[in-house]
Structure formats: structure tokens, C-alpha cells
């Protein structure tokens, strides 16, 4: 009964989406207030209906209703409750439902919180959201219905992929979709603006919070996926340039570019048609990602079941959405008025450079991911792996890092590059200190560490320098600087955190990529191995039983200079009913480095001994700490009242003259 309720709700939601696509659009064209307002009601209704559908599916999973095919294929009676719940979206059908639910959720938010938007724009935005929702709801109902029932309910399910039975599944897809799908709002705004024929600073101000929210969520989602891979897959790797990973990176790169070009539209009424194009492309890349994961076009450990029929449908949706938007762009964008002028050396110029580099990086990932597929269709087989991306993507990040440090210090319209660089002398000094320090500690290590760490500290100190310049630190009495600091808009602090966070991430990536120590050997209980100054002693290996698995657990004691640092308990599990082997890795972190232990198979050559893999990963936590700092920056900026209200607020005039330009 309950799943049928969900099925019904889903069909209703599709009908509501249909109406939502048409009525407000016509209303906006005819300036009919009630028809325009209908958009909000429809958006709220659509969201409510899909939430109902989602909850019924979750219910079926929680009570293990094995008459529902989705539950049979992805659940198991003895599975822990957390995984029964997260398993709802651990498969194609359930995750598509999560996808449309988040899409409708954003639509609902626009309907409820978009009171500062002009009625016509809001109506058109909601109409476009409705169209996208309609497309995907139709896709679900036609090819991927999660509520399909089985005539004969089996006694138990087939279980959830053991690799997905992890808290990571609770967080990674929801945040990823909040990001991915969140860019639909920018897309809808862009299409609405093209229909209206007007893009102005007000438009950019309205778009920015939605883009920022989606960007923050996507940053967190991608970072969580990376962390999950690190602590699960056992090779200490956190990014493998896998096609599905790339599919989430591309919208992130485009979304970051969008965030920055929207600033130029808002502040200087320039780069309008480029920003519109980016808004269309960012969400299109999200759609491309959705397509890649489900079509079987690229092989990836990440893909859902290979299914060309679904692939063709999603391709059709992609063609309609992106094709429609780009056609509209070709027709309408030329008539958008050209905006403010600026010199190449200026904040706008730096943002153009930012966009150029990010777009090239995005295009590189796109080509690297998809070109082999295209070649294979014409009979040529080529493979593209991490070495390709390392050779093409990483070099692009060098000018990116350099410009990131200087850009925020440049003035709008026409900037004094020399002055900006002069203010960065502390950053340069910090770079020199770090390079010397790294060389002193690790002169036998890879030389690449020196520029990489220099880049990291450059970003952190230059971000702080920007704040220091704004509060005129050192130029006016400290108390006055602090007053200024307290009055700085939150978005200034948000920017600082986001940029500094990138530096922290780079430091983390460098540390783990270049300074990792690895020890692979056979150990029997009682053996000890030296690892980067620590002693790792294998105490024992014994059997352990879990709710749906049997495992062999190794107990390691890690000491340094005789003092116990930690005890690690990695396991090698066999999960039922699939009888699949998974490892559970023992990790200890002190936020400066990770000690990482894997207990492997028994060693055939030596009875009682096991293959053990021990790693010391310096700075690896900083990858995710850096990402969290970036996200905090995004959230802080989001909480800046000016963004949400959409109009500049009056600020008290300061004792020492006008507040510095932004």
C-alpha cells in the first residue's frame, strides 16, 4: 500500500511539474499576476509530493518490504538500519529519486524565499525548474521506477554492495546532489534572463546566493567522496581521475568560474553573456555527469548498471535542456547590452584570467574523460589515465595559484599591479621561509615539493594579506584596524577562508603525494616494523563477527620512542550474502599525518604470518580540512545579509573615512 502511495505521488508530481512549466511562463508573458504566483504554489506542491514518494521508498527499505523490487535488489534483512536507509539512494532508481527531490527542494526554496525577486523573473525561473523536473520525473516513471513490485516476494534481499555499507554513503551522494542539482537554479535563472532579454547587476545578485550554496555543497560532496575513497579502498589514494570522479569535478570547476564571473556582472555590469553561458554549461555538465554514470558509456568502478536504453533517455534530456538553452542563447545573447569597461590589469581582468584557466581545466578533464569513448566508437582504442591528467591539468594550476594570490588585491577597472605585488611581500617572504624549511627537512625528497608548498603558503598568506590591506593593518592604529575588521562584510572573510582553504588543500595533496612512506611485508604476531619514526607492532590476528559479516582482525600497537601512540584494528571482512571481501582500514590521525594500516591475506610462504601494508601519509588530513575551510568560507559568504536581501544595506560611516572598495 505504502509504495503505491509513493508511486501515485510521483505521478502527481510529474503532472504538477508539467503545469509548473507552462502556467507561470505564460503568466510572465501576459503579466498575469495570479498565473505567475502559481509557480510558487506548484513548486511547493511538487516538492511535497516527491518528499512523500521518497519517504515511502525509505519506509519500504526500513521495514524490509521485499515485495518491492528496489528493496530486494539493494537490501538485506540483517543489514544495519543506517545502511538500510542510506541504501535507498545507493542504487540507480533510488538515487534518481533523490536527484529529483533535491531539484524540487530548490524549486520550493525559490518559491518560498524568493520574495525579493521580480515576479516575472521568479515565474520564469520556476517554469524552467519545472521543465527540468518534468523531464527527470518522466525518465524515472518510464525507465527507472523504484516502486516496481514483485509478484513473489523472496524471503530476503540481495544485499547492498559491501563497499556502500559505510557512513560515507550517508553524506557523499546527498551533498553531491545538493551541489550538482543546485546548479539548476543558476541554469533556470540564466534561461529566464534570456527569455526576458535582460541581464543586470540585480540578476547577478539574485543568482549569487543560489550558486554559492550549490558550490559549497558540491565542494563538500566531492571532498567527502575523496575522503571515503581514502579510508575505504585501501590504496591510500584519494583521487584516481576515474570518469565518474571527473564527472563531479567538471561542474565544480565550471561552478567556481561561474561564482567569480557573476561577481563581475554584479559589481561592474560586465561579462554578462559569458556568465549566462557559464550558468548554462555548469548545469549541463551536471547532466553530463548524470548521463555518464548511468549509461555504461565509460567503465568505472563507480558506475551504476550498464544500460544503453537509460543512457539514450538521459542523453535526450540533456539534448533538450542544454540544446534548448544554448539555442536560446544563440538567439538572445547578442542583444544583451555590453557593460562596464576595464583594463586588462584590474580585478575584472584577474577574474577573466580565473575564468579562462578554470574553463581550460574543465575542458581538459572533459576531453580526457570522453575522447577515448569517442575514439572507441570509431574503432580506435586509447586509454587515458592519471598520467595524462597529471601532465595536462596540473600545469594549468600553476598560473591559477599565482593569480589567485594577486587577484583579490587588484582594484576594479584599473589596478596598480606594482602596488598589489608590494603588499604581497609578506607572502613572498613566507614562501622563501617555507621553501627553505622544506628543503632543510626533506632535501632528499622530490624537488616538486618545494614549489608546491611554496604555492600553498602563497595562497594562505595572500588571502590574509587581502584582509590586512582592507583593514589597513600596520598603517593605522591597531584598534582602528580591529574596528574595521569587525565591520568587514562577511563575504570578505568568506573569500579569505575559501582562498586560504585552497592553499591548505594543496599542502595536503603535496604532503601525501610526495612524502608518503610505505611498508609492505609479511608480519606474524610479535613482529615489529619501523614506519617514519614510529614502531608498528602486530599484537594478534583473530576472527571477529559482525551483524552481516565475518572478519579477520589484526591488532597493531603503534609506539614512538617507547610511548604508545595508538592501537589500530584493521579488518578483512567477508560480507553476506554476497560473500564479497572488503577491507576495513585502521587509521590514526593527529591532523598532521595519518598512520594507515591494512591487514591482508595470510602469507602462503610463512604460516601464521599475514601480508600487512603500513603507510605514513604526511599532511593528508589537510586535503579535507582545506575543503572544509573552503566550504566554511562559502557558508560565511552566504550568511552575508546583503546577498540574501538582494539590495545594498546602509552601513554606518566609519570614523576614518569611506570603507575601502570591494
Amino acid at each position: 500500500m505504502i509504495p503505491e502511495l509513493g508511486q501515485f505521488a510521483l505521478v502527481l508530481a510529474a503532472l504538477v511539474a508539467l503545469v509548473q512549466s507552462i502556467v507561470p511562463l505564460v503568466g510572465a508573458a501576459r503579466a498575469n499576476a495570479r498565473w505567475m504566483a502559481f509557480g510558487s504554489s506548484a513548486a511547493i506542491a511538487q516538492c511535497a509530493l516527491i518528499v512523500v514518494a521518497f519517504l515511502t521508498l525509505a519506509y519500504a527499505h526500513i521495514v524490509s518490504d521485499f515485495s518491492v523490487q528496489n528493496v530486494v535488489e539493494n537490501s538485506f534483512a540483517a543489514m544495519p538500519l543506517l545502511y538500510k536507509i542510506t541504501g535507498v539512494w545507493g542504487n540507480h532508481e533510488g538515487s534518481m529519486l533523490l536527484w529529483v527531490m533535491i531539484l524540487a527542494f530548490y524549486g520550493m526554496l525559490i518559491g518560498v524565499f524568493g520574495s525579493n525577486l521580480p515576479r516575472g523573473l521568479k515565474a520564469r525561473v520556476l517554469a524552467v525548474q519545472g521543465m527540468v523536473g518534468l523531464g527527470f520525473l518522466t525518465f524515472i516513471l518510464a525507465t527507472s521506477d523504484p516502486f516496481a513490485r514483485l509478484a513473489d516476494a523472496p524471503p530476503d534481499g540481495q544485499g547492498l554492495n559491501p563497499l556502500l555499507q559505510d557512513p560515507g554513503l550517508a553524506f557523499h551522494p546527498p551533498f553531491l546532489y545538493l551541489g550538482y542539482v543546485g546548479f539548476s537554479v543558476a541554469f533556470s535563472f540564466a534561461v529566464a534572463a534570456l527569455i526576458e532579454g535582460r541581464v543586470d547587476p540585480a540578476w547577478a545578485r539574485w543568482v549569487r546566493p543560489w550558486t554559492l550554496a550549490a558550490w559549497s555543497a558540491l565542494t563538500l560532496g566531492v571532498a567527502m567522496g575523496s575522503w571515503w575513497a581514502y579510508y575505504t579502498l585501501g590504496w591510500g589514494g584519494w583521487w584516481s581521475w576515474d570518469p565518474v570522479e571527473n564527472a563531479s569535478l567538471m561542474p565544480w570547476l565550471a561552478g567556481t568560474a561561474l561564482l567569480h564571473s557573476a561577481i563581475v556582472v554584479e559589481k561592474r555590469d560586465a561579462l554578462k553573456s559569458w556568465t549566462i553561458l557559464l550558468a548554462i554549461l555548469t548545469f549541463s555538465l551536471s547532466l553530463v555527469g548524470t548521463f555518464l554514470v548511468r549509461s555504461g558509456l565509460t567503465t568505472s568502478v563507480h558506475s551504476f548498471a550498464l544500460d544503453p536504453e537509460r543512457g539514450i533517455f538521459v542523453l535526450g534530456l540533456l539534448a533538450a535542456a542544454t540544446g534548448g538553452a544554448l539555442t536560446l542563447y544563440a538567439i538572445r545573447a547578442p542583444s544583451l547590452k555590453v557593460g562596464g569597461l576595464f583594463q586588462p590589469i584590474s580585478r575584472e581582468g584577474a577574474l577573466v584570467l580565473n575564468n579562462l584557466l578554470l574553463s581550460t581545466m574543465c575542458a581538459t578533464v572533459f576531453i580526457g574523460t570522453l575522447f577515448p569513448t569517442f575514439l572507441s566508437a570509431i574503432g580506435v582504442t586509447v586509454s587515458v589515465g592519471p598520467p595524462y591528467f597529471n601532465s595536462t591539468f596540473l600545469p594549468l594550476s600553476i598560473p591559477m595559484v599565482a593569480a589567485l594570490g594577486v587577484g583579490p588585491l587588484l582594484a576594479w577597472k584599473r589596478a596598480d599591479l606594482g602596488g598589489a605585488l608590494a603588499r604581497l611581500k609578506f607572502a613572498a617572504l613566507a614562501m622563501a621561509v617555507v621553501v627553505a624549511g622544506v628543503y632543510a627537512i626533506n632535501h632528499r625528497g622530490p624537488l616538486l615539493a618545494l614549489p608546491a608548498m611554496a604555492g600553498a603558503i602563497w595562497l594562505i598568506v595572500s588571502a590574509i594579506t587581502e584582509i590586512a590591506a582592507r583593514i589597513r593593518l600596520g598603517q593605522i592604529p591597531l584598534a582602528h584596524s580591529l574596528t574595521r575588521a569587525a565591520a568587514l562584510p562577511r563575504s570578505a572573510w568568506g573569500t579569505m577562508l575559501a582562498h586560504a582553504g585552497v592553499g591548505v588543500m594543496i599542502a595536503g595533496m603535496t604532503g601525501t603525494a610526495l612524502w608518503t612512506v610505505e611498508r609492505i611485508q609479511a608480519m606474524a604476531p610479535g613482529d615489529s616494523v619501523e614506519l617514519a619514526g614510529y614502531q608498528v607492532h602486530l599484537d594478534s590476528v583473530g576472527p571477529v563477527k559482525g551483524p552481516n559479516y565475518d572478519a579477520e582482525r589484526g591488532i597493531f600497537t603503534v609506539t614512538r620512542n617507547g610511548k604508545v601512540v595508538t592501537t589500530l584494528t584493521p579488518e578483512r571482512r567477508t560480507v553476506h550474502p554476497q560473500e564479497q571481501a572488503v577491507t576495513n582500514i585502521g587509521i590514526h590521525t593527529d591532523f598532521l599525518a595519518d598512520i594507515y594500516a591494512v591487514i591482508g591475506e595470510p602469507d602462503p610462504g610463512r604460516p601464521g604470518a599475514y601480508v600487512t601494508r603500513l603507510y605514513h601519509h604526511p599532511l593528508v588530513p589537510w586535503i579535507w580540512v582545506g575543503a572544509v575551510i573552503m566550504v566554511l568560507g562559502g557558508i560565511l559568504s552566504l550568511s552575508d545579509r546583503r546577498l540574501r536581501v538582494g539590495a545594498p544595506t546602509r552601513r554606518p560611516v566609519h570614523i576614518h573615512g569611506a570603507v575601502s572598495a570591494e
Binding site: 554492495n161 563497499l163 575505504t232 579502498l233 585501501g234 590504496w235 591510500g236 589514494g237 584516481s240 576515474d242 567503465t299 568505472s300 568502478v301 555590453v338 569597461l341 576595464f342 583594463q343 586588462p344 581582468g349 577573466v352 584570467l353 579562462l356 584557466l357 574553463s359 581550460t360 575542458a363 581538459t364 576531453i367 580526457g368 575522447f371 577515448p372 575514439l375 580506435v380 582504442t381 586509447v382 586509454s383 587515458v384 589515465g385 592519471p386 598520467p387 595524462y388 601532465s391 595536462t392 594549468l396 609492505i520 611485508q521 609479511a522 564479497q580 571481501a581 572488503v582 577491507t583 591494512v598 591482508g600 591475506e601 602469507d603 602462503p604 610462504g605 601480508v611 601494508r613 603507510y615
Partner: protein
């Protein structure tokens, strides 16, 4: 197809252990072992297709790793080992695609896009900049300005 799914499942399930190389496979000389691992990281596992042979735990890959290590121990250079595998498995096994007509787009697109994009951005900005030049005042306009002050 069935074989593919079976091996994919094996690779996913056993992708769990870290670098899949076992202690008994490793070369005694750490420098040689590091070199062998570096070569292995450039070779795609033909069974799993989504990992390098260093990460794959498939049974077949153990033998591929062994062949790499034997060749390294015998003094072959990195390129020679890569060529050995390339002769037998084709371009697919190289994670770094070779530079040849079929891959020109792959390798040349990033720098080309950067240059083209930069040129486009620059030309757009310069066109704008031209419109911004303030025209100097004529003598008559200057006199008018003085009169207003």
C-alpha cells in the same frame, strides 16, 4: 559481458587491499622496486580496466607485475618495459596515451584552448578598452569649462 561483470566484481571487491603487490612479489632492491612500481602505475590493468596493475588484485595482474619486475631486475629501462607491454596489448595498456595522430586532440587541446581562450578574452577586452579612451577636450570646450568654474 558476463566475464566482464565477473571480473569487475572481483576487482571492485578485492580493490580493497592497498597497492595489491604482495611482499613475495616485491624486488629485494628498494630502488628497483620503486622503479617497477612507477612503471606499473603507468600500465592499465587489462582485466579491470579502471586501475593500474599496481592496484589491481586480479590474479592475472600478479603475473603482469611479475613480468615487469623481472624485466626491471634484468636491467631494462622504463621505456623498454612499457614498449614490451605496448607490443602485446596495444595503446590500451598505457595510461599515458602515446602522442600520435589519433591523440593529437587529447594532447594539443589543453594548450590550444588556453591560447585561443586567452586571445579571445584579450581581443574582447581591447575592443572595449578602445571605446573607453577619453577624448581630449577641444580648445572651445576648455574655454567653456573655464567659464563655468
Amino acid at each position: 559481458m558476463r566475464r566482464f561483470l565477473l571480473t569487475l566484481l572481483t576487482c571492485v571487491g578485492l580493490a580493497a587491499p592497498a597497492l595489491a603487490v604482495n611482499p613475495d612479489e616485491m624486488l629485494k632492491d628498494p630502488a628497483q622496486e620503486t622503479r617497477a612500481e612507477a612503471i606499473g602505475r603507468q600500465l592499465r590493468c587489462p582485466v579491470c580496466k579502471t586501475e593500474s596493475i599496481e592496484e589491481s588484485d586480479a590474479d592475472f595482474t600478479k603475473d603482469l607485475r611479475r613480468v615487469v619486475r623481472e624485466q626491471v631486475a634484468a636491467g631494462k629501462t622504463n621505456q623498454q618495459v612499457l614498449d614490451f607491454m605496448h607490443e602485446r596489448y596495444g595503446d590500451f595498456i598505457l595510461l599515458r596515451p602515446p602522442f600520435k595522430p589519433a591523440t593529437w586532440v587529447l594532447w594539443l587541446a589543453p594548450p590550444a584552448l588556453l591560447i585561443l581562450g586567452g586571445a579571445l578574452a584579450f581581443s574582447v577586452m581591447r575592443r572595449r578598452k578602445g571605446a573607453d579612451e577619453t577624448v581630449p577636450l577641444t580648445a572651445a570646450e576648455k574655454t567653456e569649462l573655464e567659464a563655468l568654474k
